[in-house]
Symmetry: C2
């Protein structure tokens, strides 16, 4: 199994992970583990998140041209989107937030 496949398998096994997407700079989906019934959702994640990633890269570079985006995280009440940019693609991990788990973290 290739290193990328191993990494994908490991991420998918994390508790709460709903799935992951590998998206090119252009927003095209290269890899998708969210399952066939979630095409609309996957496209929405891919489009919006790659747009946000480009904006995040530019605010970082605007402030310091020598700096570089390494990671970003969007947290909501019921889900979390974790994004690791690479040279020409983004790894996007979608994680469900377990209500009681989140309550424990915040207590």
């Amino acid at each position: 199994m290739s290193e990328v496949e191993e990494r994908i398998t490991r991420i998918k096994q994390h508790k709460g992970v709903k799935g992951l997407l590998i998206v090119g700079d252009d927003g095209n989906i290269i890899r998708n583990t969210l399952g066939s019934g979630s095409d609309k959702e996957s496209k929405s994640y891919a489009h919006h998140v790659s747009e946000i990633a480009k904006k995040a890269k530019s605010v970082i570079r605007d402030i310091n041209p020598l700096d570089d985006l390494t990671f970003f995280r969007i947290k909501a009440k019921r889900q979390e989107i974790l994004v690791a940019p690479d040279k020409s693609y983004f790894l996007i991990v979608i994680q469900n937030i377990d209500e009681d788990n989140d309550a424990i973290n915040r207590s």
Copy 2:
């Protein structure tokens, strides 16, 4: 001292915090502790980050209309931007990343 002032003072005292901004939905700066010499930088943070926050809100709502953005974090090699959205404004905290500290975290 009002509760908001106390909270701002506490945040400012965190190790590595460069400053914070309170920005309205429209991107206007309501409060800025980054210091007078950083007008251009503050405006860039305010503009870009409120744009990103709106996009992050819409991707969350796109996927699940009942869900809501609670927090997001943009991490770069030398700085980190932490954003807590509220009803009509965003609290933006800018944190410098201490090279060796980050290396310790990642070892």
